[in-house]
């Protein structure tokens, strides 16, 4: 047990050095000292609970993706059949129960209609997979049912692009080092360090920014609108700010509008006459052409500017807008206009996102936690060192050295694995330090016992390590098992605990058992003491 050939000693020292060296950049940054740029810098990230910052968990509603898909399908089917040669007339369109149903007026055209609709049912991918199934019931009634695979893929695509949009918006805010991760099927985690007040960020992420221009249905009577009854082909849309408009909602034509996803730019400006903040937008070529067509065909009629299913304003089209740019007014403040401009620039979210969890720690609180935590740990360490040396003498010095190396190695390994230290992680650290101290206590008490039984020094030390190792091994393996399970089953904070625990168990056995044994063996060989005080 006390044999340490040179190769083994080199190995152990090398391993220790690597782990300790990996901890140095983190220590330097904790002490606010510059770390040489030319050297690699593995870092232990500080969790937001320590460093300050915001953790925001967003969740999408897949039902919305489904509804959107259904609506798009309806529009495609209508357009396709209207433009067919000869035109295929359809009616009685309904989209209840997640299915799109309609009848083909002329039963002779059923086969032609199927031919026209079929291409629309293929997925966007190259696999040629069908996303919808077509059924014809009662001779001429078409029922399009989305297939689950296609839906799943649509949700995935929507989430992918939502993540991209979120990233763009956060970049626009100019925050440093945001982390944006997809989590599961429907969630996005956003972590932004060092933010004073995340209100602006949350407002930005919560805004879907689905911009639409739709013609106002002037035939609808105000009393019908008030009751929520829309004329056929129209829908009721509430005002974003009913109080200042005087009416709660207006009716707009459901189809034939323009979507705001074909913008090339959006910025906050001022309306020239009133000096009111507005958002001016620029369409791309295609969108500009559509917008020109819509406005030239409907001069002197009102159209509604709709943002996230709320009407911002419904101005009259005074003249055709041909230049491809327009202004959106809607009782903005400079701030809200600016925010909308950012949202529009980064594109609409394909699905609404809701903040379902937020954790914000102000930078002051975080810094305070770290300062007080370090102070307390410093005092604690000194007390532990004093006690260990008072009780175990030379062996206590070995144990303390092992303890210090243990903490450094934990930090080093965490840095190499790019792990994050959180508050629960500190609890894990305390536990592993406890385990490391305990290992040395077990060994030293055992050596005492063996000496008391009258064994000679070398035999006592050897047996002490051997007998104590069994309990140390069992205790660490059980804690390791617990740690792994906690990591697998636990949520964020519990995982933070588990990671430190798992790493710490390895390093504490390494330092408290292996390294101290090497040191003790070296001392015994050199000094050849006939008696030891332990």
């Amino acid at each position: 047990m006390l044999e340490f050939p040179t190769w083994k000693r080199i190995w152990l020292c090398g391993l220790t050095l690597v782990a300790v060296a990996a901890a140095l950049p983190s220590l330097f940054s904790l002490a606010n000292m510059p770390w040489p740029r030319s050297l690699p810098e593995p870092m232990v990230n500080l969790g937001l609970d320590l460093a300050g910052g915001s953790h925001i968990l967003l969740e999408a509603d897949p039902a919305q993706v489904r509804a959107q898909r259904l609506e798009n399908m309806e529009e495609s089917v209508r357009a396709r059949l209207r433009n067919a040669e000869p035109r295929i007339r359809i009616g009685d369109i309904s989209s209840s129960g997640g299915k799109l149903a309609f009848i083909v007026r002329d039963t002779a055209q059923v086969d032609a209609a199927r031919e026209e609709v079929l291409p629309l049912t293929y997925g966007a991918g190259l696999t040629g997979q069908r996303d919808w199934t077509i059924e014809v019931v009662d001779e001429n009634r078409f029922v399009l049912t989305p297939r689950p695979e296609g839906l799943e893929q649509a949700v995935t695509l929507a989430m992918d692009s939502a993540t991209e949009v979120v990233r763009k918006r956060i970049d626009e805010l100019g925050t440093r080092e945001p982390t944006i991760i997809r989590q599961g099927d429907e969630r996005i985690v956003v972590q932004v360090p060092g933010l004073d007040d995340p209100a602006a960020l949350k407002a930005l992420l919560g805004q879907t920014a689905k911009l639409e221009f739709k013609l106002v249905d002037v035939t609808a009577s105000p009393s019908d609108i008030a009751q929520g009854i829309a004329p056929p082909g129209s829908e009721i849309v509430p005002y974003a700010d009913p109080a200042s408009e005087g009416v709660a909602a207006i009716a707009v034509r459901r189809l034939g509008g323009i979507k705001g996803d074909s913008l090339t730019d959006a910025k906050q400006t001022y309306e020239q006459q009133t000096n009111e903040p507005v958002v001016s937008i620029t369409f791309d070529q295609q969108g500009g052409a559509k917008f020109a067509k819509l406005t030239s065909e409907n001069v002197n009629r009102p159209f509604a500017i709709i943002l996230d299913d709320k009407v911002l304003s419904a101005p009259n089209i005074n003249e055709p807008i041909l230049g491809g740019s327009a202004q959106i007014s809607g009782r903005f403040t400079v701030e809200s206009a600016n925010q909308l401009a950012i949202s529009l620039r980064s594109g609409a979210l394909p699905v609404d996102l809701t903040v379902i969890e937020e954790r914000t720690v102000g930078p002051d609180l975080g810094a305070d936690s770290i300062r007080k935590g370090l102070l307390a740990m410093g005092i604690g360490s000194l007390l532990v060192i004093a006690l260990m040396i008072a009780v175990y003498g030379r062996f206590g010095i070995y144990a303390t050295a092992a303890l210090v190396l243990n903490v450094l190695m934990i930090l080093g390994v965490m840095a190499l694995l790019n792990n994050t230290m959180t508050l629960p992680g500190i609890a894990g650290l305390v536990l592993t330090i406890g385990a490391a101290v305990d290992a040395n206590v077990l060994i030293n008490e055992r050596i005492r016992e063996e000496r008391k039984k009258g064994r000679r020094v070398v035999a006592a030390v050897e047996n002490g390590y051997k007998e104590a190792s069994r309990a140390i091994y069992d205790a660490n393996v059980t804690n390791f098992i617990a740690g792994v399970l906690l990591f697998l089953f636990g949520s964020g904070p519990v995982r933070g605990f588990a990671v430190v625990l798992i790493i710490g168990l390895f390093t504490s056995v390494f330092t408290a058992v292996t390294l101290t044994r090497m040191w003790v063996a070296g001392w015994l060989r050199k000094a050849r003491p006939s008696d030891i005080t332990v």
Partner: protein
């Protein structure tokens, strides 16, 4: 150099003589703990109940206007807020539980939080937001579920490992000791209505880890002695094992305590709950290893026959030397 001895040598305290009264008291405590949890309930923090916990400093004030805040936030109609000092006198934590009516509405927590913050800000220009935990009903439900699964899975796996390494009686004993520790901790939280959050789950995990470590050390010595003293009555053997490991038990617990106490007194307010939980757990865990985990072995009838006698290498050489000499 004269070294410090915390425990006199060769103690022979008959710990297990009082095992019955201790067991009865402990069983009553366990039952009382669960009764408290069932009747008073745990004071769930926002992690598990949903809602928001806002930490703020009133930078220009000597003292935070707690009474005024209580009134203002109470008037918003989200139920009674829990407002406490958090650190310095002008720092507070404000906790508002998610109203039951909106538990299913995942956007509600965020809306309520925004409303509370803007209300306070309007009334107190020196309000500074230091922290905001904001959990919707959906997420808090998941946290509860995951925490329970993680705890149960970990405890079960531990019991199985100890069963494999020792004997089944030891597995049962270790599991029961852990059950005792967790029960008493929960009971304590129910009795004093301390905030029960995810951090406390981490603390309970640390307690479990520590208590387990302690139990294994005692069990290891019991296993060793069972092999060594094959005719010793079991109660006596358990006492001997506990006494032999007593110095280690005291030293380890003391070391951990002196490492933790500074954290309690000088550490950040955010770590207070976690630290005090672990400190209490050290006492409970040490007690349970001696009085819960060990006596169970008597009742489950562990005998020396469960183990093959062993002889260490050193002992073998000593025996050979004796035989030769």
């Amino acid at each position: 150099m004269k070294l410090l001895k915390l425990v006199p040598e060769d103690t022979n305290i008959r710990f297990l003589r009082w095992r019955m009264p201790f067991y009865v008291v402990s069983l009553i405590l366990i039952a009382a703990s669960w009764a408290l949890v069932a009747t008073k309930g745990l004071n769930y923090g926002v992690d598990f109940a949903g809602g928001q916990e806002i930490r703020a400093t009133f930078t220009q004030s000597e003292e935070a206007p707690i009474a005024e805040l209580r009134e203002q936030i109470g008037a918003l109609g989200y139920g009674e807020p829990v407002i406490q000092r958090f650190g310095a006198p002008n720092e507070v934590s404000i906790r508002v539980r998610l109203p039951d009516e909106v538990a299913g509405d995942k956007g509600a927590a965020q809306r309520i939080a925004n409303r509370i913050v803007s209300t306070i800000r309007a009334g107190h220009p020196d309000f500074r937001l230091d922290g905001n935990d904001n959990v919707s009903g959906k997420v808090s439900g998941e946290f509860r579920e995951k925490a329970i699964y993680a705890l149960l899975a970990a405890m079960l796996a531990i019991a199985i490992y100890i069963w494999v390494r020792f004997e089944w009686q030891f597995g049962v004993g270790a599991l029961f000791a852990l059950f005792h520790d967790v029960s008493l901790t929960l009971g304590m939280f129910a009795l004093f209505q301390l905030e029960f959050s995810l951090q406390i789950i981490a603390a309970i995990l640390a307690i479990i880890g520590y208590s387990l470590n302690d139990t294994i050390v005692v069990y290891d010595r019991i296993r060793e002695n069972l092999k060594k003293y094959r005719r010793m009555p079991i109660a006596e053997l358990l006492d001997l094992s506990v006494n032999e490991t007593l110095a280690r038990t005291v030293m380890t617990s003391l070391t951990l305590l002196i490492a933790l106490l500074p954290l309690l007194f000088f550490g950040p307010a955010s770590l207070f709950g976690l630290t005090i939980c672990i400190v209490l757990g050290i006492f409970v865990g040490t007690y349970s290893s001696i009085y819960m985990a060990a006596p169970i072995l008597i009742w489950l009838k562990v005998t020396s026959d469960s183990f093959v006698p062993s002889e260490s290498e050193v002992e073998r050489q000593e025996r050979l030397a004796r035989e030769r000499g």
